[in-house]
């Protein structure tokens, strides 16, 4: 199974949100990383055929998804960034409604809904109205509905936003298990999620693909370029003007900072093992004034 985008472009007036993006997805987990406004959500909406591209196309095994239509949607699971729901529906009723939309047999849907509610930890509130759910619970319902039809292509936009650490770990494990014979594309700002489970990472900036590689290869990009230093407040302000700064940790009267730079920024800075977050800072700029 191969999902491809061929020179996919989307313009909104003068603004080009997605600029000639050509990607190939096969089995596995793909992480879509990029700053706000990079075009991640726009790209995902085109992948799930709710937003027509200005040019280019999305194909599944060579067939445009527009032609496939319902056949494509039959194997698709999508979780949008803003999850729409009916406040007066209970969790169970909402999933039943969506299972009807996904063309699932009612009996099968019943079983599947119970399984998924267990999986996302909402079994004990299945008869509660969605209007009474917290933000994190709504996101979990969003995940559950995306998995209802056991999709072969799973596209998730910010799936772990609002989840607590335990829920995030649980979700990552679910995705890892699912990714064996599926295409999973997830976009997120939480780099650690991508780091933990994504085999391939796509870096998107201003609608263009900056890089498309494994996590390991991307880390090698910044090997020897990540430095740990200890500075005071006034020094920190100065450094921010010249270098992309990653993590800043306050300790007593000084700061422990992570600087991404091709050359050693300070005499007392020490080189450290790069993380995917450092790659993000290197490519997109960190806290640089």
């Amino acid at each position: 199974m191969q999902l491809r985008t061929n020179n996919l472009t989307k313009n909104f007036g003068d603004k080009c949100a997605v600029d000639h993006v050509s990607l190939t997805f096969e089995r596995g987990v793909y992480g879509l990383l990029g700053p706000n406004g990079a075009g991640k959500t726009t790209l995902m909406r085109m992948l799930v055929d709710v937003l027509p591209p200005s040019s280019g196309k999305v194909t599944l095994d060579g067939v445009p998804i527009k032609e496939l239509g319902a056949k494509y949607r039959d194997i698709l699971g999508y979780m949008p960034q803003e999850i729409g729901y009916y406040r007066d529906f209970t969790a169970r009723r909402f999933l039943h409604y969506l299972s009807a939309l996904k063309g699932l047999d009612p009996e099968y849907a019943n079983r599947r809904i119970d399984e998924l509610l267990d999986l996302v930890g909402l079994a004990d509130v299945k008869n509660k109205r969605l209007g009474q759910f917290s933000g994190g619970m709504i996101r979990r319902i969003g995940i559950a509905q995306a998995l209802l039809n056991d999709p072969k292509i799973l596209i998730l936009d910010e799936p772990t936003a609002g989840l607590d650490p335990n829920e995030r770990i649980r979700f990552r494990n679910i995705l890892s298990e699912l990714s064996e014979d599926r295409i999973v594309i997830l976009s997120t700002h939480i780099v650690s999620d991508v780091q933990s489970i994504a085999g391939q990472v796509i870096l998107l900036k201003e609608g263009k693909v900056i890089s498309y590689d494994t996590t390991e290869n991307l880390r090698r990009l910044v090997e020897g370029k990540v430095w740990l230093a200890t500075v005071d407040h006034s020094r920190l302000s100065q450094l921010k003007k010249h270098y992309p700064i990653g993590n800043v940790l306050q300790r007593d009267d000084h700061f422990e900072i992570r600087i991404v730079s091709d050359t050693k920024p300070l005499d007392d800075a020490t080189a450290v093992e790069p993380s995917l977050e450092d790659v993000f800072v290197y490519v997109f700029g960190g806290e640089e004034e």
Binding site: R73, D74, L76, S99, G103, L104, Y108
Partner: protein, 280 residues
């Protein structure tokens, strides 16, 4: 896991159930029940608030008052059918499902049309039930009220059925307007306002005869069927009036439904082995 295919009928039934169990439906039906109770069992209420036709409480309720409750239900329940999904964001999820897009839209429209039938039937059944216990229960075999110049002669039972059919056609027209407006907007308030305006305009043209055509080809001719049996300047024969008015509204309804369903790809999901099974 065995991914068995559910039918479109199941989606249609789900949509219909969502409409029938909507809070607005229950609220308005409750309001009508209270009104009908007052009409049937309180002379004071009847004398103060109602204009009884020919001493027949069933015809009075179904021809003069029930239509307004049904119109309110349509405006409140049908307005968000498409626009509400756009506003809440459910449309974005729904359109990525197997029965999303056109199939979903068709199911919603079908459910809305059947919902009106259910609503109308429930109104008639309830009114009939309650008027049977009133002081003037309906007499089905008696000839319908004396309309001296009317060329149409029917019994009460025939007139009740005739009323039901005409009112259903009228309500279908109103539903089709609201559906069309809802499908083109992203806020449920817009189809509600459009529907309310239409009802207001038609009511004004019904009360004051500005033009024979506007009075004759009026939604309230269908919603108050007893008025269509009276010969007018435009139609000397009630039969001609019935045919002309009904045909016009049926055609308009069909056009509006076409407008509603336009704009989505016409793809009919057929029961086929899914892509993965075919590949292996």
């Amino acid at each position: 896991m065995n991914n068995k295919r559910g039918s479109r009928g199941h989606l249609f039934r789900t949509e219909l159930w969502a409409l029938v169990t909507d809070g607005g439906t229950l609220l308005i039906f409750l309001a009508y029940m209270v009104f009908a109770f007052g009409a049937c069992f309180s002379g004071n209420f009847r004398d103060t608030w109602m204009q009884v036709i020919n001493g027949d409480i069933f015809v009075t309720l179904t021809n003069l008052y029930m239509p307004f409750f049904l119109m309110a239900a349509i405006l409140l329940v049908i307005s968000p059918i498409f626009a509400g999904d756009k506003k809440s964001g459910v449309e974005e999820i729904g359109d990525t499902c197997f029965y999303g897009k056109h199939a979903w839209k068709v199911c919603k429209v079908q459910a809305a049309l059947l919902y009106i039938l259910v609503l109308c039937s429930a109104g008639y059944v309830f009114t009939l039930f309650i008027s049977l216990f009133s002081k003037t229960p309906p007499n089905f075999t008696q000839r319908v009220f004396e309309l001296g110049n009317s060329g149409v002669v029917m019994t009460n039972a025939q007139f009740y059925l005739f009323s039901f059919v005409l009112q259903y056609i009228g309500l279908l027209f109103l539903t089709s307007i609201v559906l069309a407006a809802s499908s083109k907007s992203d806020d449920p308030i817009i189809p509600l306002a459009v529907g309310a305006c239409l009802c207001g305009f038609e009511l004004a043209f019904d009360f004051v005869v500005f033009s024979p055509i506007l009075w004759e080809f009026n939604l309230f001719r269908l919603l108050k069927p007893f008025t269509i049996l009276v010969p007018t300047t435009l139609f000397t024969s009630p039969l001609k009036a019935i045919l002309a008015v009904n045909s016009t509204f049926v055609i308009l309804t069909a056009l509006l439904l076409q407008v509603t369903l336009n704009g989505t790809l016409k793809e009919e999901p057929k029961p086929q082995p899914d892509l993965m099974q075919r590949k292996t």
